[in-house]
Assembly symmetry: C2
């Protein structure tokens, strides 16, 4: 890892950027060299050219601005004469490091650029759930694919992007879902989004009407409830049992249900076949929709996964959501929506109305990454690593947190739910964890209503063995 560029390095290159903002008017009665001198003074005053910065050579000015070198020399002479700049023998002209008093007074009225005022992004802290291992991502391969794609882009990459996504990526995702999730979807069913938030918005603008009632799982993923509420829908949280959501307990007038059948979020159980068939029946009979959030099904460590609900949907009532933020890197922000054939036209119309939102620049790179097998290899590698890390977390709890935390093995996922054996309230426990720099969300915070179960979510995927062990020791001490 290298360090971010220093402020000094940034400033030294500013001259050229500022150059492009200079505007000269040949029709003006003021001579060009005076106009140029005024413009340069303006930029120096605004600190768009920093004190001490080297000015571009007169040849570059002349070329960029389309004026003679004599004009540039005359303008720069004026700057030097008035103390804005100074010539250093043999090495060019520099903005004066100490500007004269009258210049300084003017400059002080300009708001300085406050680099230090911007907060640094949060570091990933143990035990952030859903944080993948970052250091083992094949950055070199990924960066080279970027270079290969964009140094000489194919024509189609330069046109206005298709709001539904880059066709080869839609194809690669369809292939992936067929191999990994038993979903025989065609690429035209795949729509590229920035993630679950945008996907829910799209559904809110196409298949659902404002005020519709939507069944969600209780507990469940907070972003889903929040997004639907923001969009003007009513959410109906239905408590899950050991088999996940029981659709027969939901309100009769709901228009859709959002479910995590592969692995309930955050509790982790898999929905058995009987419940799945009941869900499909419900949607078919009531002409409602099932929104399947297939959020981390790539990480299954033992046993065969049931195919995605969408894989057994004959009636075209299931819509599936997926994302790459957990299998690749959190900053990627590329997700997808798989819609049944009968919905393609509606979703396409909405996407075209909204206009393309996901940058085209990463889509061909991701398509190549998948097509060339790098994605599948990376998932397999992470699967092995995370299997081990889950074991390390469980052993660390046994070793350091007896009587404080308890948990049991999970065949899949990136986090474990730990119960608080000493009866501490989970929100209090989460607060204590935060106080010592750890992130251990309280299960209570995943409930819309009164929580019927407590615990802490401990993510293990993104942290190495030593960190997991040491952090559990710290956490156990904090919770005693």
């Amino acid at each position: 890892m290298k360090r971010a560029t220093s402020r000094r390095e940034r400033q030294s290159t500013f001259g050229e950027a500022a150059l492009a903002s200079i505007s000269l008017d040949r029709a003006d009665r003021e001579p060009l060299h005076r106009q140029l001198a005024s413009e340069l003074k303006r930029l120096i005053l605004a600190q768009a050219i920093a004190p001490g910065a080297r000015l571009p050579s007169s040849r570059i000015y002349a070329e960029e601005l389309g004026v003679s070198r004599a004009t540039v020399v005359a303008a720069v002479d004026e700057l030097i004469a008035e103390g804005y700049a100074e010539g250093r023998h043999g090495s060019g002209v520099f903005v004066a490091p100490d500007l004269p008093d009258h210049v300084l007074r003017a400059a002080q009225q300009v708001t300085p650029v406050a680099e230090a005022t911007l907060p640094r992004p949060d570091e990933v802290r143990p035990f952030q759930p859903a944080a993948p291992e970052l250091a083992l991502f094949p950055h070199e391969i990924w960066a080279k694919l970027m270079l290969k794609t964009w140094r000489n882009p194919v024509r189609e990459l330069l046109a206005s992007p298709d709001p539904l996504g880059w066709a080869p990526l839609r194809l690669a995702i369809a292939d992936h879902l067929r191999a990994f999730r038993g979903m025989r979807c065609a690429p035209e069913q795949v729509v590229i989004t920035s993630g679950a938030g945008e996907a829910l918005e799209l559904l809110g603008q196409s298949i659902l009407k404002r005020g519709d009632k939507i069944i969600i799982e209780e507990p469940g993923y907070i972003l889903i409830r929040r997004t639907f509420t923001e969009l003007g829908f009513k959410t109906a949280p239905i408590p899950v049992d050991g088999d996940g959501l029981d659709i027969t307990k939901g309100p009769k007038d709901a228009r859709a249900a959002v479910v995590t059948p592969a692995r309930h979020y955050p509790l982790g159980m898999t929905m058995p076949l009987s419940r799945r068939l009941a869900l499909l029946d419900w949607a078919r009979q009531h002409k409602t929709w099932i929104i399947e959030d297939d959020y981390d099904s790539e990480y299954r460590y033992h046993g065969k996964p049931l195919p995605a609900l969408m894989g057994v949907d004959e009636a075209g009532v299931v819509i599936s959501l997926g994302s790459f933020s957990k299998t690749m890197l959190p900053g990627l922000r590329i997700g997808y929506l798989v819609v049944p054939h009968n919905l393609i036209a509606d979703i396409s119309a909405v996407m075209r109305e909204r206009g393309a939102r996901v940058s085209l620049f990463l889509q061909p790179v991701l398509a190549d990454f998948m097509r060339l097998g790098h994605y599948a290899v990376h998932i397999r590698r992470m699967r092995r690593l995370y299997t081990k890390r889950q074991l390390v977390l469980r052993e660390a709890i046994d070793r350091h947190a007896k009587g404080v935390l308890a948990t049991s093995p999970e065949p899949a996922g990136m986090h474990l739910i730990c119960t608080l054996e000493n009866g501490m309230d989970d929100r209090e426990a989460a607060k204590r964890a935060a106080r010592i720099g750890l992130l251990a969300p309280a299960l209570s915070d995943f409930f819309a209503g009164k929580p019927f179960r407590q615990g802490l979510l401990l993510g293990y995927a993104g942290f190495d063995e030593a960190v997991i062990d040491a952090s559990i020791k710290k956490l156990a001490d904090a919770l005693r």
Copy 2:
């Protein structure tokens, strides 16, 4: 420009991707080699491993799956015995190019991946307005910056992205706006978005309430009206005159006004100082908001631009929108919102609720591209090019379209408005243009109500001289 990868090349590498989807269960009573053989058959049937593809070596299988090579050899032997695969002396094992009948029957039930069913993205057609020149973008520099940033990313790039955007990009944009637009904004006022659509949504979720009335320009940018309507706002289109929007003609109960003071879209006039001051007064007195869409102000060819409205706003009532889609490439989909200091907290809260949507992967690359001066140089280069192309368009109209089209020079922008000298309805003219493969939007389509002016929008920025000349000749013939 190179061609996209062929289907053949894609298939030949599928084996490894499919490999990662294989799931073996050591607790199962079925021997591992039988499980492996079944899984491989499943993948061959699903065409996840294509007919004729080479299977990975037994060493790779053994390593990836954590089984002995003997297990792999036994499984592959079963595949060969049943006709799914064949060994070629010395070069490994391949999926049978012609599968046995019973296998074929099963395979035919699998929906084939329909690559050809996905439409190609639309080519850029003359005279698409707002289409920049694509071939002269410094692709090599851009691609190398991508490589440099991502082959060994700094730690901060791997953390959860800040929903407000990558700090160095916010800083680079603040610097750019100061140099180019006289907007002395601090980087914390800059919020990264995917473009105008998302920016308007954000404002709709923060400063405005559902049902609020918003003044828009008539004619104006269609996406603005559409987005606000979709979000549940009322839009009040106010006809512009030669000086742009006159805020005194707007309804008294409006909560915000969206304006293009630098250069009205699509008519092109600049709002004079008196109107700007009236706007600022209005917002200050009524505690309303001005949303300044500064959509292409980098492209000014003659005269000094007035600074952005936000540059003279002392009361904190102006919000400014900008984008890189017109100055760089349309597929980039990175824009920004500059908010006054008093709004930073509200917008931050909404952004954090929504979660990060813009990929982090391009933000540091764009920040470097700007910081190192490439962006400013590119804009300056395009400015010279577009100056010339506007002239070429006007000369082509003089040469080929006398009595059909008329236009006058513009000091800025990427398109000209042409009047139809033969009195043809502009929508009819746009239809005729479309029929011969040209894109010349009718001015009438930019009106919410009855159009009070007609004409065609002809973009010139993205097309070379020969194309402009030939296309005007074709267009004039079609309109006669």
